[in-house]
Symmetry: C2
Subunit: 376 residues, 2 copies
């Protein structure tokens, strides 16, 4: 570190130069992210609550109340009255804590979790941290969890079964109801990772059920900082039984609270305030509109891909994510990258993966398809 | 959730009302927190990088570079050339990940960690998550780790020994050099939790060494969002051997990176940018000045306590934290609370705990002592 600090204007200049090297959501460079430009009021709330933290809620009772309201609204969106949960740093923390609860509630000495092969890598992180044996079940032809493959991996040591509503690679929805039957039969905890789908599926007509309306579902991850239009870091973990959080409580001496069930300590209040602001400003109709626009772009891209000679739709999209099959997707992604746009490559299927977030406009989709056909 | 969202002005009103119910750093209400009002340029950086995240660094190469610079400066502050690390969400994540590394590097089937009784509760969290047996060693008369008590708990299963530089309850510094000798003799990983002391001790004349200048130290936690004047969430985990991070890597398909060693996934870039801005603007001299002002207030309070009939200094402060002995500290804290100021109660010793952060001014200290003498 320098002895004397730099002049503030110099620091400001460095900051702006760095920020300009980043890709931008708005000019359509980013087609691989599940994040987007937050709602203006979410940003405003974030700034207003920048100094607050919820690790010591007695210092920030106003912020703490906003979190309670946000959690209630999230539970409500997932068809749960009551329940509990908290605003996490994001889907990874939510998924880790869900498995953490399940492991601590399990009686097994060698607890395992059964997840579909499509599960997000946060479950690998969780398994390593928590010392859980992670068993990955094969998918069906539409890249969804195959209930019989899941069932084959379940045994007396199974602490948790995981289903995904809006997978990271293809956006598909696992058959949560059928996973629920397996969980109930085997007395296993059922967690649904709806980090991506949680703010899309409730607003689509005819979308399969994935939430607490299915009795077996014990907890759900959904990310306000993805399709919820809140700021980063705003994740959500909602549990059906408030007592479930007792399984992961740690005593907190010298704070205004008695204990904590969060992964972080000095937990920012900005995420909770920002989530509250987005939920309150948009309401169900606002989110429906957002989801519908994204699904329109999704269909636009899907139809263009179907009609293209070199491209193939690997599976019909059910959320706002398009998986595009072509020769050597890695090479194509690299070439697109040189042109300035970022898509990414999925493993299962090996395909290009495009996420149609609200910042991806109609013209961006058109330009993207043209560029992709050129490089394919 | 409501069908129709509220008018933005109504939401804004709710936000401001909530924020007003919070306590404020600036009016001296908060005397129990290790956080404070961030440096203005740190706040500015946070706002500028609000949309960025480092979970997918190829999308935000500018932000990613600021993180590299911030990590280098933090390592440098801790007397380490090279090394590695990252900007975490705070001390809790840093401490969890340090034990995570130590556990994954250990050959034991039943790994344990030996910590002083003064260790922060994040080590309890870590132990539960990571399934480590946490052994707590008694303190010496000055509430520091007692090396012989630590040594007595070390055995072949000891994955890590932890020392604290600036304990949460009394601000004391453990004898890190002696803990280092024990760690070396027993081939154990040595982690130093300097979440609080990391931005104080390097600037105090005659402070004992606690950092990488001691060969046995493997990793250090220090929190930019405490005395580093960065915004929440900005934690720091610095490791001596960059390879140590390999022990906790998870593969990350479909991102611009190959793997991740962070606890969170969609990790905000605002903390990294804010930390960079604070470090670059303040420099060593700026932090020295900040630490000196806080230590002056600390001495002011300590002398007032010593000269008071009903109050007692439980231990001479070495960082900007004063531990005040009196009859029934819990009752006193409650009464102070009614007057609007928040202090907190420590367990070991059972005492009032006052943190002299930069927002606690000279007059606040005077007012506090007067109020405390009244209620004592």
């Amino acid at each position: 570190m320098r002895k004397r600090g730099l002049d503030p204007d110099q620091v400001r200049k460095h900051l702006h130069e760095a920020r300009e090297r980043d890709l931008s959501y708005e000019n359509g460079d980013i087609m691989s992210s599940m994040c987007t430009t937050p709602h203006p009021l979410a940003e405003e709330a974030h700034r207003l609550f920048l100094e607050t933290y919820l690790g010591d809620p007695g210092l920030f009772p106003g912020t703490s109340q906003l979190e309670d309201k946000a959690v209630e609204k999230l539970a409500n969106l997932l068809n749960l009255e009551g329940g509990d949960g908290y605003i996490t740093t994001g889907g990874t923390e939510s998924n880790i804590q869900a498995l953490h609860i399940a492991r601590n509630l399990s009686n097994s000495d060698e607890p395992s979790a059964v997840v579909p092969e499509s599960a997000h890598f946060s479950f690998d992180k969780a398994a390593d941290m928590l010392q859980i044996d992670l068993k990955k079940a094969e998918l069906d032809d539409d890249y969804r969890a195959d209930p019989s493959a899941i069932e084959n991996l379940v045994d007396g040591d199974t602490a948790a079964i995981v289903g995904v509503a809006g997978t990271t690679e293809t956006g598909q929805i696992d058959p949560i109801r059928e996973l629920g039957e397996i969980a109930e039969e085997n007395d296993a905890y059922l967690h649904v990772d709806a980090a991506f789908g949680g703010f899309v599926l409730p607003f689509l007509t005819g979308a399969p059920r994935f939430d607490f309306s299915i009795d077996a579902v014990d907890s759900v991850t959904l990310d306000p900082h993805k399709m919820g239009l809140s700021t980063i870091p705003s994740g959500g973990l909602i549990v059906r039984d408030p007592d479930a959080l007792n399984a992961i409580r740690t005593d907190t001496p010298y704070l205004t609270s008695e204990d904590q069930y969060t992964l972080t300590g000095t937990r920012t209040g900005a995420g909770a305030a920002s989530t509250y602001a987005a939920l309150e400003t948009l309401g169900r109709n606002g989110y429906r509109e957002n989801a519908e626009i994204c699904m329109e772009r999704t269909k636009q891209l899907a139809r263009r891909v179907e009609n293209s000679r070199n491209l193939e739709l690997t599976v019909e999209p059910v959320t706002n994510l398009v998986s595009i099959g072509l020769d050597d997707p890695g090479k194509a992604a690299e070439k697109l990258d040189e042109k300035g746009g970022k898509v990414s490559v999925s493993r299962l299927p090996e395909a290009l993966r495009v996420v149609l977030m609200p910042h991806v406009h109609q013209e961006t989709v058109e330009r993207f398809v043209e560029e992709l056909e050129e490089v394919a």
